[in-house]
Subunit: 666 residues, 2 copies
């Protein structure tokens, strides 16, 4: 029955050949890979403004709160900050284009680092990315829910609950296995692009015609900075800049997924990357500019997107709700991409022996079930802790992304060094795709180097300006994770060494076996154990742990009456313990036969349902645990199944299956 | 290592004979059993006032908010309500005195009901009591923490966390096994009685001398009723009355613990019960009267006890802090008594087959570990849900207690009927202790009947006036629990029937056994499995689930090189599944030999620590699960231990123990 439920929820099994993708065209590829990057426009502007509101509170647009020595309101700083971020984005895009050509089979930071910078750096990049995929899910879902509650404030108290339901939904969908249906995936992305495009165009038309309304003062806003206002400082501007840099998250997605594109894969992927960055920059700058003109409130709820759409389209207009729906949808898609990336990267780590092997196991639906489950649990925990607040999560986010940017591009710098040492015409495996860079490798190297240095600086700015806000956690977490990865790796290597056999036939001569039947009472299950022991053909002995002397005597009497063969021994247990007496008894037997096995046979009632089974677990578990540590002790579980059966009168009865029923001797 | 931690936390094992109590004198018995009842004075008055504040908000003492047609402030109603509760308490006390004489071996509601009203009613009483023990823990700890945060408001935001730490502490203490050291237990009770006695005397002296201060208006109070004020109604007065009736909880404790007293047990227990009730009534009325005079705020925080102590002793006085400490301590002790009662009652239910058998299992420290753990989890959950608020929990509380009062006393009514039918001089087992009641059984029956009827009425008042406040949950929960209890009972009875053997020797003739060795790879663990199979002396076959054809071919080659005997078969698994292919394969074998066993041998790596073990669990678990449902399939786990060992150079290495290492054939 439980299997049926699983089928309904998770769907039919898929075969290995189903794993192959369809090749994606550029427009579809854009839709599939861009949701993470594009969706960050939903919060990047807002987070810049929230940081600036530390200076002026809600009055970031007021002339009285101005940048020192000028008449410009503090909020206007958002535009130069956004332009700086756009410049950074352009450089990173050019740099990642190179990676796409260098790694036509997929150039994620983990792979580039492993190739060029060694195992440790690769593990650092991997730890940073795994952390950030978890944060992508938490931030995107929180931001998506924030859009929805902005439009429907009555849902405000249920933010966390809604976010958790969404996580559960995405998790189930991914455990089913998302067939990478490009067309289906591109609907939310293009829907978002169309409604945001209309919104920005309408906004600019209104702006140039002087009809862009400023926000009505009647919106209920959640005041963000209850604390004291601060003076404007370079530190604060840098903090606002780093908050806005979350716009860059997801830009690496295409470089991981090059193989999904149509031939020529690298060229198509590179073109798509340029398209994506162009759209991203346009949206980000447009949203920022119009938010300044509309003088949105620098708050998390209602979201800046919601306020802007309200200003441009008016309340209760269909377009307003379409903007909310489109933004929420693309954020959901962004979370969904992390559900593909995290398990895949975790499986890569696990395959290299740096994470538990279970993560490499694909379930019946071809998905990495363990990785998906782990991602859902961690992201859900973050949402509960943060109360589904984007502003709370932002300081944790993007440190990892920028660390992986830095490492990936530094790896490319090293790679160009290798290429520079190639002799003319020399072909080296793994470097062949770079040959057309041979002549101007220095130029490309400089781009990667500049990109790496810039993203490193941003990462440091991020870590320092957000340190007390939560970035400290990531700064501590990443090295801890790397340490754990290496401990796991060490463990697997040591186990492999301990298990290794010589390359020759090994000695497996038979040893003596002493058989014990562990009995709790004398009933049909007992008869079955005796039956199995007799079928093995060795001599055996029945033992009972006597926690209650009276009961033990009754059991012995029953034994003699109903089984009546073999020897029966009661091991007294004055402390009513189960584990220790059997352990001591078996230890004694082991000492007596230093070369032999002790074979313990125990019964196990097997019920049809989980809840019934739960009523019958205890002693077998304790015995198994107690004996598993002993060498040369082998434990056999003889199951005895009891099934539900509807009898002639229509009553549901529990019965052992027919051929298992104990019958009297003839 | 894990065992050592357990020993340190949980202490040395105890032997069965340690179970015997020391016999308690009356003063010590009072201290041991009265904490639950006496501690309820810490919140009963307060909860009456909070209900009354629905009429007047914080202005319950203001002349402008008066009882219709009079000049009495609403708050003054607390006194007549408290007097009514005291009368009820007196009647219940007299009624329970009778139970103590009738059941000298302990007369809890479950036992009295089982004896006189049948199984179903007993289960209802049990369900009600189990629910209320959980609530006793949650309410007492919440109230204790409320005292502490009243004195130290800085701790206010950490109420839930403090409460959870306290639960954890009490749980560990109880898993260690509380040695019922009467002297030690009586310290908190007498400490509380002394400081409360001093406080009440000082309060009355101040009152009669006209110097009892009214509270300063400067106390910060958490306003309780943010909603609209209601008119005073009978409904509201009844609700206030039922809130105050929580003062009666715990009064049944002595009737459960009669055997702990010195001889004559029943007489000593009965006298102690009367003492306890007298003290309880004195404290409750005194606190209520003085709270009215001091005009305390009708709020949960700071608590009424804290406000009263502040008014009488002044802020920063030592006595104020002693009152807080004494009240918090006795509340802690009250929670602790539930840790004795709940597991004991749960074990009683489990022993009768109405709850999982595991609950009857006493751990190494003679305590019912499962019951203690279950209690801690449920109480912790309640504290989290309620935010450690007594006012939130009160509507859930006491419905169950009054239900069990009603049932217990109704049981006594039936019992007196049985006695009335005894012929003069006739001695019936179980009724003999009642013989001195023979003559005036009718009088005693009327008392029990009146008590039962009154507590039934109070229960109904409680359920109705608090229904929407949370009592509905208990009204739904108790029948659901009873239903579950009977389902469990039915299950155990059915299983016993299915397992029963005829009272004669049963047939256990040997059957054919087919042995399979399930191999994942060829290494030392594999060699060990082959070794065990050979030692059993049956023919066997090695099988490998081929999720990867390439790897399968490599494994076969290794098999031929290093094991080189027996047959090796790859079961192809194109879906990369593990469970289904083995299941199908075994099913086929079973069909071929309808009378025989299929014996599946699988390996199990055993590590020294939990975390290392977690890196090696997956396939064995899946296989065991897949095969456990199949009849005539027996699974044997051959363990292969890998230990930590420090080598000559001081490095920590993983090694198989010496005699397990695979050696080449000579």
């Amino acid at each position: 029955m439980s299997i049926d439920v699983k089928r309904i929820l998770l769907g039919k099994r898929l075969q290995t050949k189903d794993l192959a993708h369809q090749a994606l065209s550029k427009p579809i590829g854009l839709a599939v890979f861009a949701s993470d990057a594009l969706s960050s426009t939903a919060y990047a502007t807002q987070e810049i403004l929230i940081v600036l509101s530390a200076v002026a509170g809600l009055a970031v647009w007021s002339q009285s709160e101005t940048i020192a020595g000028t008449t410009t309101p503090v909020g206007n700083l958002a535009l130069p900050i956004a332009i700086a971020i756009a410049v950074l984005l352009t450089i990173v895009t050019i740099s990642y284009r190179q990676t796409i050509f260098a790694y036509p089979n997929g150039g994620g930071a983990y792979i580039v680092a492993r190739d060029n910078l060694g195992e440790t750096t690769a593990q650092v990049a991997g730890a940073a990315l795994l952390t950030d995929y978890i944060l992508t899910v938490a931030v995107s879902i929180s931001a998506g829910v924030a859009q929805i509650v902005s439009a429907f404030p009555a849902l405000l108290p249920f933010r966390v609950e809604i976010a958790l339901v969404v996580i559960l939904f995405i998790t189930i969908v991914n455990l089913r296995g998302v067939k990478e249906s490009g067309i289906l995936f591109s609907i939310p992305t293009y829907f978002f692009l169309v409604v945001m495009g209309i919104t920005l165009i309408a906004g600019f038309v209104q702006y140039f015609s002087g009809t862009l309304p400023q926000l009505p003062g009647t919106i209920d806003v959640e005041v963000h900075h209850a604390g004291e206002l601060q003076a404007l400082s370079l530190f604060l501007i840098l903090r606002a800049f780093s908050s806005g840099c979350t716009a860059l998250t997801g830009i690496e997605a295409i470089s991981n997924g090059i193989t999904a594109f149509k031939d020529p894969k690298s060229r198509n992927a590179a073109t798509t990357l340029v398209w994506m960055s162009t759209i991203l920059i346009t949206l980000f700058l447009g949203i920022t500019f119009l938010s300044i003109q509309a003088q949105v409130y620098p708050v998390e709820l209602p979201t800046v997107i919601s306020q802007l759409a309200l200003a441009i389209h008016g309340a209760d207009s269909l377009l307003y709700f379409l903007v909310i729906a489109g933004t929420a949808l693309i954020l959901l898609m962004a979370a969904n991409t992390a559900y593909a990336d995290f398990p895949r990267l975790a499986a890569l780590h696990a395959g290299d022996g740096f994470l538990p092997r279970q993560l490499t196991y694909r379930g019946g639906r071809l998905v990495f079930s363990w990785g998906i489950t782990a991602l859902a649990l961690f992201a859900g925990l973050l949402i509960i802790i943060s109360g589904a607040s984007v502003t709370f999560l932002i300081p944790l986010y993007a440190v990892g992304v920028f660390l992986s940017f830095t490492i990936s591009q530094a790896g490319m710098v090293v790679r160009y060094n290798k290429i520079s040492k190639l002799k003319p015409g020399e072909v080296v495996k793994g470097l062949e795709t770079d040959l057309h860079y041979e002549k101007n490798w220095r130029f490309h190297q400089i781009i990667s180097g500049v990109g790496s240095a810039l993203t490193f600086v941003v990462m440091m700015v991020f870590a320092i300006t957000k340190f007390t806000g939560g970035a400290w956690f990531i700064v501590v977490l990443v090295p801890v994770l790397v340490f754990i990865f290496f401990r796991i790796h060490h463990h697997y290597k040591e186990v492999a060494k301990a298990l290794s056999l010589p390359r020759t036939k090994v000695d497996t001569h038979a040893r003596p076996v002493q058989t014990l039947i562990l009995i709790d009472n004398v009933h049909a299950e007992t008869a079955r154990m005796v039956n199995f022991a007799k079928s093995l053909g060795h001599s055996w002995k029945a033992i009972h742990i006597g926690t209650n002397p009276e009961k033990a005597a009754q059991i012995e009497a029953k034994w003699n009456e109903r089984i009546g063969e073999g020897s029966f021994e009661v091991i007294p247990s004055p402390y009513r313990l189960l584990a220790e007496p059997i352990r001591e008894y078996v230890d004694k037997l082991l000492d007596e036969t230093p070369d032999g096995y002790v074979h313990v046979i125990m019964g196990q009632l097997v019920m049809d349902t989980f809840w019934e089974q739960a009523l019958h677990q205890n002693s077998a578990f304790i015995f198994n645990l107690a004996l598993s540590g002993l060498e040369r002790v082998v434990v056999t579980n003889v199951p005895y199944q009891i099934h539900h059966e509807v009898d002639a009168e229509g009553h549901d009865r529990l019965v052992p299956s027919e051929h298992q029923q104990a019958t009297p001797t003839h």
